[in-house]
Amino acid sequence: MYANVFKHFGNATAVDNFSLTVNKRELLTLLGPSGCGKTTTLRMTAGLETVDSGSILINGKDVTTVPIYRRNLGMVFQNYALFPHMTVFDNLAFGLKFRKKTKNETTKLVDEALRLVALPGFGDRYPRQLSGGQQQRIALARALVIEPEVLLLDEPLSNLDMKLRRKMRLEIRRIQREVGITTIYVTHDQEEALTMSDRVAIMNAGRIMQVGRPREIYQCPNSQFVANFIGEPNLLHGRILSANREFVISIDSQRKVIAMLQNASSEKPASVGDSVSLCLRPERVELNEKSIHKNSFAGEIGIIEYLGSFVRYYVDLGRGLTLACTRQMGLGEPVRSLGEKVYIGWEPEDCLVLPEERTGEF
């Protein structure tokens, strides 16, 4: 649990009033762009960075001033940081030495840990003899073998290639579930965050933008930043013209969008004249020959990106406005061609009204 944690580096505030409670046994991901403070927060949790003000509690105990080697945490580093001059067995046994285990206990625990990460019998090898994925798993084993209270992972998968990354994501999740340990995971890869976490906390410039289950965050982002960071939405900027039973938002001199009143998120209610961003997920729009939907605009297909299992169309709507639309392949929809004239449309419930980013509020 973090309470009002602050951290400065010189003039820059790295972590700004960070407050968060992480639940037992959950895997919570700190997600954000580079420099948003997520790694700093993680390192403060481990004790590798000092806290300028505020406190960090683990299981109710205030650890803010406790030195690193007494915090009983397990940490997996981005570059694994395995001890190159020790065998795998010694790497794992290292942490146990400070916990007063007998030789038999140590051997048993190490073997169990190796079994847990699916590398039994690797005890005699040296880190340099292992592949990237194997080293990663050993790093994980090393952090877990000491039976820590919390597990911390600092972008552990960023050095692996795509396929391996996908595989390891599932592995890590499986292991985390099996052990049932509270875990904090740091990454800038939103796919990782979405697929692995119980909850995600999105950070930017040292602050938490939004916390919630992956689905919530994707479907109901609370700000333009969050919407932009997760997925690749269409963002339309406009001004509220009226807000009686529904929003009518003008996006330029001739075009209007209708959105539901419930689909707005902000602390203060929106009022007429406010500048807003409309978040429109590309998979929620449709392309048709005719204008079918309540929100519908005519345009021409400018770019087609073929991505294997789905297609992304960029539709040019004139006057500088382009919207992206992704459709799954093989659903019986016709594949369109360049230059085709279509209507791109969506229903009011498919778009979200978000505050314009400058102020963060309506």
């Binding site: 080697y69 915090r71 580093f77 400070f98 340099r128 090393r142």
Partner: protein, 285 residues
Amino acid sequence: MKRSSWQLLLIPGAALVGALLVVPLVMLADMSLHRYVPFAPSIVVGGYTLDSYLIFFNPVEAYLRVLYDTLAISLYSVVLTILLGFSIAHFLARTKHVRMRKLVMSITIASFFTGTLVRVYSWVIMLGQGGVVNTVLYALGFERLRLIGTDTAIILGLIHSSLSLAILVLVGSIRNVDPSVEQAAWTLGADPITTFIRITLPLSMPGILAAFVILYAWDATAFLVPMILGAGTHLFIANLIYDKFMSTTNFPMGSAISVVFILISLLFFSLSSALAKKLGRTTHD
């Protein structure tokens, strides 16, 4: 550039060093195998003989003693230098205070640039009868010590002259130890001292070994330090050779001693190279 023409770049270097080094050494070796002719040192007389070598290795003569002195005193000195140097090197490699680091670095480098002669004399001042140490001792009521002419003086001088070099070499190798490995040890429960002993030290071994070799070569071939601070009591090989050539003009003897020493150095050097290679394999990915 053509395929094999870049090898031509090596030729000037190799040729010059070859000419300037090999030829004189061969001449030296040649000289060492001839008989000693008093009063006509550079004249070669008679056939080849191992006389000088036999005299050198004869335990009755004092030559082996000098060799032993040189190697032993240098050993003490190198070990101490590495110990002291490591403390500063570690600070330089790990500290986050930029100003302090630059300050310490400047002092180290400046120390490196002070000439040998200066350095030796500064120690004469420190250790002499009227020098700093003795003045302080006397003021405190103790007897003055005769420090110049002891092996302690030589050791102090050697340490002082090679310390900056040691620091420069060691800093590089400590830097090479990935700090995140140390941090991992901390998170696993190792306090800083344990981490240092079990992680940092083993991983800096290649650098320590390299420093050892360089420093040993530097110290064992010292000339001024043992000459002035040793004041004739503990001769080093270099002094002995000088003496043979200059005072007694026994060129063959001087040459023989030189050859023996060079061979020992080469042996030592290749052994430590092999060891370094072996170590390098276990401490790096």
